[in-house]
């Protein structure tokens, strides 16, 4: 089973002493250069979000009416928008929204999927059936429509978005955690713990959880890309976090009617989204391959 080999791969990694780990990271970079590149972009993005005010050449809401709709130049590398704001600076500040929403939503979704998945898989029986029917209902709603609907009801401030996205992706991916739990729960040491009279919470926390962690990590890495795409589509449609703070999706929406006069307005924010999603996906793919030796070279 794939799940077991992921677990084995990760356990081997975690068990390696620190210098060994470093060399394994280097080997990962050599074997999977694209995945390593993806990881690098992700790290750079987080750093960029942290130091945005220091690196952005202009403020994100600094209009210069005389410089409206300029193409890329030495003063404005990515040009300016319809209010004369510097596009590069807005993209740099926009990375903060992307990073915060990703950490928030993926963090919440990981908690949700782990809780639902392990409980449903461990207890089985009627608990499992009931929970899985709820998951069915949840998954019936097309993602984007459900998010738009929920955001229109609960509002679109940062926290609502994190909760809506986190719940949506968390419930959706709980199935993966559940199947990993199913694979672990019949193993001898779980039965041994049960025979010793350990309580259910204790077995879940001490025996099941550590063994599904690699699956959880891989699932989370897949979700980062999905969260970014969902958030940017939402922003583009006008349901994202409120202005004036820039988000990449809303930058595209706001300058929509000016793109024929300055076509580069259509290019840079979207390229930022695509680059980050691509990098995250590549990194996630590499991570999965590295954690699961069985898949090496198949995908």
């Amino acid at each position: 089973m794939a799940v077991n080999s992921v677990t084995a791969g990760a356990a081997e990694f975690v068990g390696t002493p620190l210098p060994g780990r470093l060399s394994r990271v280097l080997r990962f970079a050599r074997r999977k250069p694209v995945a390593a590149f993806g990881g690098l972009v992700v790290i750079l993005l987080v750093v960029l979000a942290l130091i945005a005010p220091m690196v952005a050449p202009y403020a994100y809401d600094e209009p210069r009416v005389l410089d409206r709709l300029q193409g890329p130049s030495g003063a404005h590398w990515f040009g300016t928008d319809h209010q004369g704001r510097d596009v590069l600076s807005r993209i740099i500040y926009g990375s903060q929204v992307t990073v915060i929403l990703c950490f928030g939503a993926v963090g919440l979704s990981t908690l949700v999927s782990t809780a639902i998945g392990t409980i449903s898989g461990y207890f089985g029986g009627i608990t499992d059936t009931v929970i899985q029917r709820f998951v069915d209902i949840w998954q019936a709603f097309p993602g984007l429509i459900f998010i738009i609907f929920m955001v229109s009801v609960f509002g679109s401030d940062r926290w609502s978005l994190i909760v809506v996205l986190g719940l949506l992706f968390g419930v959706g991916s709980s199935r993966v955690v559940r199947s990993a739990t199913l694979a672990v729960r019949r193993l001898a040491y779980v039965e041994a713990a049960q025979a010793l009279g350990a309580s259910h919470p204790r077995i879940l926390m001490a025996h099941i959880l550590p063994n599904v962690v690699p699956v959880v990590i891989v699932t989370a890495s897949v979700q980062v890309g999905a969260v970014i795409l969902a958030e940017s589509s939402l922003s583009y449609l006008g349901f994202g976090t409120p202005p004036p703070f820039p988000t990449w999706g809303r930058m595209l929406q706001e300058s929509r009617q000016f793109m024929q006069r300055n076509p580069t307005l259509a290019v840079f924010p979207g390229a930022a989204i695509a680059l980050v999603v691509y990098s995250v996906n590549m990194f996630g793919d590499g991570l999965r391959d590295a954690l699961d030796p069985r898949l090496r070279g198949t995908r």
Partner: protein
């Protein structure tokens, strides 16, 4: 097999009921009162009007009774009345659904027609330049948001070629040529986004099947590579691909919202956006409900198709 289909159909009911509950309850969570919001938009707080509105949108009585009434209305084919246009919601849905259906079907067909042959090619020529190219493209398509691709097509289509999609929407039966001109670009964009997933699935399933003994036997018998690939390998690889295509229906339905907005196509997606901006909750409820039902029914259809294609599949 009939038993399987019946049992699978029985599972539909609780799911459908759950969907109606979610849609019903979510709207009840609206901050403030629905009527307040409606009257607020019109600038009136007249208690008499309020009472009439409550009656009209069946907002009297307990929440439980409201739900049951709403449900029985739905069962009778009545989704309520739009707050902004005063038309029955079903009238609007009936008018808009075929447009979205056409866009979604075109996108799905494009994705299948592109992804399956490319996936096969990629698997057969594993690790060649073609394989690398196909994989890179499919991964690229997965990372590019469809609204961005649409914006680029619209912007650079105009800047480089002076191309603008026709402004007035024409129905497929009324003016097929113009309809095609409007629909083809969004269908291609949506289809490209979908094809990434389908292509990757086709490729990895083909790789797996091509390693099996029966494929080697077929080759050893002297069958032409074409026959081996199409008749022996593809037939066995296609099932998981079908499942993925079935799951894509949900992505398609969501994706049409963005592309309809971009290309001004008067389908369900653009109706949803207008309805949300005007707080027309009967219409919003209707569309969300309809889209979820479409997804559930298409997944059901895929499961049934599965049993028809593969005799091994039985209810576990």
């Amino acid at each position: 097999m009939q038993k399987y289909i019946l049992r699978r159909a029985a599972l539909l009911l609780p799911t459908l009921i759950g969907i109606t509950l979610v849609v019903f309850l979510a709207v009840r969570f609206l901050p403030g009162d629905v009527i307040d919001q409606m009257t607020g938009e019109r600038g009136s707080a007249n208690p008499e009007m309020r009472r009439q509105l409550e009656e009209r949108y069946s907002l009297t009585g307990s929440v439980g009774r409201q739900y049951v009434e709403w449900l029985s209305d739905i069962a009778a084919g009545d989704l309520g009345t739009s707050i902004t246009t005063n038309r029955p919601v079903t009238t609007d849905l009936r008018q808009r659904l075929p447009i979205t259906f056409q866009l979604g079907t075109m996108a799905l067909l494009i994705s299948i027609l592109v992804a399956i042959p490319v996936g096969i090619l990629s698997a057969v020529t594993q690790d060649s330049v073609w394989d690398f190219l196909a994989r890179s493209l499919s991964i690229g398509f997965l990372a590019v948001p469809s609204f961005w691709m649409g914006l680029l097509v619209l912007t650079y289509g105009f800047v480089w070629f002076g191309w603008v999609p026709p402004l007035n929407y024409r129905d497929l039966w009324e003016d097929p040529a113009q309809n095609f001109q409007i629909m083809i670009a969004p269908a291609l964009i949506l289809g490209a986004g979908l094809s990434g997933t389908v292509m990757r699935m086709t490729r990895s399933m083909m790789l797996e099947v091509l390693r099996h003994d029966f494929t080697r036997t077929a080759r050893a018998k002297g069958l032409s590579p074409r026959v081996v690939i199409i008749r022996h390998a593809l037939r066995n690889a296609i099932l998981p691909v079908m499942t993925i295509v079935g799951l894509q229906v949900s992505v398609v339905v969501g994706g049409t919202v963005v592309l309809e907005q971009l290309f001004s196509i008067p389908g369900l997606g653009s109706l949803l956006l207008t309805a949300i901006n005007t707080r027309d909750y009967p219409v919003v409820q209707g569309i969300v409900l309809l889209s979820a039902v479409v997804v559930v029914l298409s997944n059901f259809a895929v499961d049934i198709a599965y049993t028809l294609v593969d005799p091994r599949v039985r209810y576990a």
